[in-house]
């Protein structure tokens, strides 16, 4: 299909750039239009059209091996401001366009301006700004321009996050996010400064142009890890992530989690392309950080009771998996084992694509759920599947996919990573990498716990609170994005080899050494087998279903209340709730997951009514960072005595300064 498009004379890069700009400007008319809702409709239509133009053109750019350069004219003294789209950028552009379009469509039903007069305009405007800044970021090749777009992205995300700033927790989340992202930006200041010191200009270096052995390179890598890692949410830089994703409007959380985190990963990818000889240490650090992030992230997710917090923690987990893949690939580069490089990168990039499908799907789903039940607390939901069967189906697809279970897309990417680990057994170097496999398996198992908890406590059983008792099916504008994403998840799951072909150009541009290898064909054929099994599985399920229903037609089908094992007075509240479901797992992993538990105090022979509340804590934030801040506050308060309002002492300061400078001068 793209050959025909290539025939058309218009340059795809130009199309992509203008699409990004259109998305950025989409929200502006709404700021001035008097009539509510008109602006929202306009921006949605514009965004979707732009995305429809942008997606094929970025696909084209992905497969065409030419990269065109556009130079922006600006008056700033940091060299030319260039926009380039190479396959790596093009690959990352896909989720940007897809998810932002889906989100803006979702917003029409989820955040209608009829109900949110005051906030809708700002929300729409900053949403467009966020989407387009992410797109432009991927094209920026001038460090300072990159930094600017980066910060525009971060700030617009902040303003989106504090949309409902009358709520205390939203403000708190916003502040934490802002501080975290700004600290990350400070690290990026260092990063670009040292890059400039290394290359002599603020342009990003070309692939493989730097040596990684100089100490400056180490500083650059560290700064990149801190600056970009803070955005991506790699532990221990993830502190802002759960509360931010939980408190933003759902479609914003979808974009933040589905796309914005990937921008941090993009930064790390881009940085690693600069160096032609990364030392083993870098790969090792990334791998360890990745697997630890994955394990801790999913462990936190298991413990959550807040629907969106759970999703946020699982984002941390997925970022961890991707980072592991990247780290493994880097180890492969350093040790010159090509299959490892290929499989690591393929797994990581494919998982980036997958995560940007099923995570937005789940966040949109959570939006619909919150819309229907009016709460984020999973312990208060239940039985929503009857009210909203379609959303239930889509969310089920998402949950299965995110657990990395066949035949959905999550499995395909993890499968490639597993292959990479096992491959190392026959290579005689780094065979210890294979020990990552059981850890990844554990992560998968915990993911099953977390998401069966999510799904069952939200959709299954009977409603646990009056709020959830009468759910309503989401509107069409909310269902459509869900349907599209769910379909894509299934598609990639059943024919992963196609997705692998999508990933390949990005891999080649990351590590040119792989350009002339037979790996794509080899692993493509393996994935063919995989999709065969997938199809087999589906057909088998269908066959069994048909048989069963044929059987049911003959037999008599009655319906009765659930058998209560003799307890006839069972109410909805004796169901296993979300917290109860994960209690065993949490107790097993109590070393990782800390919980604040308020147990009821039993007194007397007949203790009265009481309740036991346990809620998971942000270990790092609440036990380490917050105390540090208070400590700093105290010490600063002590130092402030310097400004005590005593005139003669002020005079003494002046005199002392004069005296010291005199002594220094002579």
């Amino acid at each position: 299909m793209y050959s025909t498009l290539q025939g058309a004379c218009v340059d795809p890069a130009l199309v992509a750039i203008s699409a990004a700009l259109v998305i950025g400007c989409a929200g502006i008319p709404g700021l001035f239009l008097r009539k509510p809702g008109l602006g929202q409709i306009f921006s949605t239509v514009a965004t979707i059209l732009a995305a429809l133009a942008g997606l094929p053109s970025s696909l084209l750019l992905l497969f065409s091996h030419t990269t065109t350069t556009y130079s922006l004219d600006w008056g700033l003294p940091f060299g030319p401001c260039e926009l380039v789209i190479d396959p790596l950028s093009a690959f990352f552009l896909l989720p940007v366009f897809l998810v932002s379009a889906a989100g803006s469509l979702f917003a029409v039903g989820y955040w209608p301006s009829a109900e949110h007069r005051t906030t809708e305009r700002g929300l729409t405007f900053f949403y467009g700004l966020l989407s387009s800044s992410m797109a432009i970021l991927l094209m920026a090749r001038n460090g300072v321009f990159f930094l600017m777009v980066w910060e525009i992205m971060a700030l617009s995300a902040y303003f989106l996050l504090v949309t409902e700033h009358e709520r205390e927790d939203v403000r708190r989340a916003g502040t934490v996010y802002l501080i975290a992202t700004h600290t990350g930006t400070a690290a990026l200041f260092v990063y670009f400064s040292f890059l400039a010191a290394q290359t002599g200009s603020f342009m990003l270096p070309t692939a493989g142009s730097l040596s990684a052995l100089s100490p400056v390179a180490a500083i650059i890598a560290l700064a990149a890890f801190v600056g970009f890692g803070a955005k991506a949410g790699i532990m221990p830089l993830h502190i802002w992530l759960p509360s931010a994703h939980a408190n933003a409007p759902s479609h914003v959380s979808a974009v933040m989690s589905g796309v914005m985190l990937k921008m941090g990963l993009y930064g790390i990818f881009r940085t690693l392309t600069f160096f032609h000889d990364p030392p083993l240490l870098w790969g090792a650090v990334l791998t360890v950080a990745g697997i630890v992030t994955a394990l801790f992230g999913i462990a936190f997710a298991v413990a959550q009771r807040d629907l969106k917090r759970l999703l946020a923690c699982s984002s941390i987990e997925n970022i961890g998996i991707i980072t592991t893949g990247l780290g493994v690939a880097l180890l492969g580069v350093s040790s010159h084992t090509l299959p490892l490089v290929y499989l690591g990168l393929a797994g990581a990039l494919l998982h980036i694509l997958n995560h940007s499908l099923f995570k937005p799907l789940l966040f949109f789903g959570s939006g619909a759920i919150i819309h229907a039940s009016g709460t984020r607390e999973m312990n208060l939901m239940g039985g929503l599947a009857k009210g909203m069967p379609r959303v239930a189906l889509f969310v089920l697809v998402g949950s299965v996919a995110i657990c990395g279970i066949p035949p959905l897309n999550g499995f395909a990417s993890e499968f490639l990573l597993y292959l990479g680990f096992f491959r190392q057994l026959t290579e005689n170097s780094l065979s210890y990498l294979v020990l990552l496999a059981p850890l990844l398996a554990l992560v998968g198992g915990l993911a099953v716990v977390a998401f069966s908890k999510l799904y069952s406590s939200v959709f299954l059983g009977t409603p646990r609170s009056p709020g959830a008792a009468h759910p309503h099916e989401a509107g069409l504008t909310m269902q459509l994005p869900l349907a599209v994403l769910a379909l894509l998840c299934l598609l990639i799951g059943v024919v992963p080899q196609v997705a692998l072909r999508l990933v390949y150009p990005a891999i080649a541009s990351f590590y040119p050494g792989l350009a002339s290898t037979e790996y794509p064909a080899e692993y493509g054929s393996i994935l063919d087998k995989l999709s065969l099994v997938g199809v087999l599985l589906l057909t088998m399920a269908v066959v069994i279903t048909l048989l069963w229903y044929w059987r049911l037609k003959k037999g008599r089908v009655t319906s009765a209340p659930t058998w209560g094992c003799g307890y006839q007075r069972g109410t909805a509240r004796i169901q296993y709730g979300a917290t109860a479901f994960s209690e065993i797992a949490v107790s097993v992993f109590s070393g990782i997951i800390r919980q604040k538990i308020r147990r009821p105090a039993m007194a007397g022979l007949f203790p009265g009514g009481s309740r036991c509340v346990d809620h998971p804590t942000e270990t790092l934030l609440e036990r380490i960072i917050a105390p540090l801040f208070t400590l700093a506050g105290i010490s600063f308060a002590f130092l402030r005595r310097l400004q005590h309002g005593l005139m003669h002492v002020y005079m003494m300061y002046i005199f002392a300064t004069l005296f010291i400078l005199m002594l220094w001068a002579h």
Binding site: V434, P438, V448, W548, A560, T562, C565
Partner: protein, 307 residues
């Protein structure tokens, strides 16, 4: 595909279709023998399934379509797994690099839906069961992977066929210790995954202590039949993996090999029966500890081979 492989393929599928319930029958018979009873006939499980298939069905009013999807997916996954695992010396019909990972993850799929179906009924007991199932199986996961690593290290292959067919008596000579550890670990996992004593008691009557059985309390008629059959199939598939690991006898003559396979499977059933009748159920709090112990055994075996 040559003629003989076609025949083997058919035998493979037929065995997978018809043999699983027999294992349950054998186990029952063994336990009866230990208890000094005559016990039900070997084919009792078949009778049960057929009778259940003829019964009507009762669906709980609280359930949705998820409840019905549970048994279907459970059976489908087990069946696909059966096609991936070699029976005895005979290779499996479907085999490719990395199929062992698929093999491991298929069970996760089945589990997900079984748990969802259980929770769909809104009964607190089934909730308990699925909560336990979720945690324990996620503890059992790493053990299986350590086993896979060890095997693929020993065999130098990345597919179940290669792994299991190459673990001949030869491997025992140079990696006996690690294989021994592995067998210990895998046996525990086998019991845990199939909810046998000492982890779970399929025919107890105290729901508070059950895992698997309590999850299927509300399934009735054909649905329950499907579940029973799927459970036995799962036992069969995991058992096939285990016997190939523990008793890798190969005569070289194809039909004799089928016989050997069937014999070893029945032997395994008897062993399970013995274990079930000599051991008592563990307290629930002990279960995770035993599973972790299994993981440690398997991990040691891996370290022994990749150092």
């Amino acid at each position: 595909m040559t003629n003989s492989t076609l025949i083997n393929c058919c035998i493979h599928i037929l065995l997978a279709l018809f043999m699983p319930p027999l294992l349950l029958g054998v186990i029952g018979k063994t336990k009866a023998a230990f208890a000094g009873r005559v016990g039900a006939p070997f084919l009792q499980p078949y009778f049960d399934i057929i009778r259940l298939l003829q019964k009507g069905t009762v669906f709980s009013t609280t359930t949705s379509w998820v409840f019905r999807a549970g048994p279907i997916v459970a059976l489908a996954t087990a069946a696909v797994a059966a096609l991936l695992i070699p029976f005895g010396a005979h290779p499996s019909p479907i085999s490719f690099e990395g199929d062992m990972i698929l093999y491991a993850y298929l069970f996760a799929l089945g589990r997900f839906f079984t748990m969802a179906a259980a929770l769909d009924t809104g009964s607190s007991f089934e909730g308990m069961g699925s909560a336990r199932e979720a945690t324990y199986s996620c503890l059992a996961e790493p053990t299986l992977f350590f086993a896979l690593i060890t095997l693929s290290r020993l065999s130098g292959s990345y597919s179940l066929n290669g792994m299991l067919s190459n673990v001949s008596s030869g491997a025992w000579l140079y990696a006996g210790a690690s294989l021994l550890l592995l067998i210990g670990g895998m046996f525990i996992v086998l019991l845990a995954e199939n909810c046998r004593i000492p982890f779970d008691d399929p025919n107890t009557h105290l729901e508070l202590t059950m895992i698997h059985e309590v999850m299927v309390l509300d399934h009735s008629g054909p649905a329950f039949a499907i579940i029973q059959y799927a459970a036995s199939l799962k036992l069969f598939v995991l058992g096939a993996f285990f016997v190939q690991l523990a008793l890798p006898f190969a005569t070289g003559h194809p039909y004799l090999d089928w016989g050997v396979f069937i014999a070893t499977m029945l032997l395994l059933a008897i062993v399970i029966g013995i274990v079930e009748s000599v051991m008592a159920r563990l307290r629930l709090v002990r279960v995770p500890q035993l599973l972790v112990a299994a993981t440690i055994l398997a991990a040691f075996s891996t370290l022994l081979v990749i150092r």
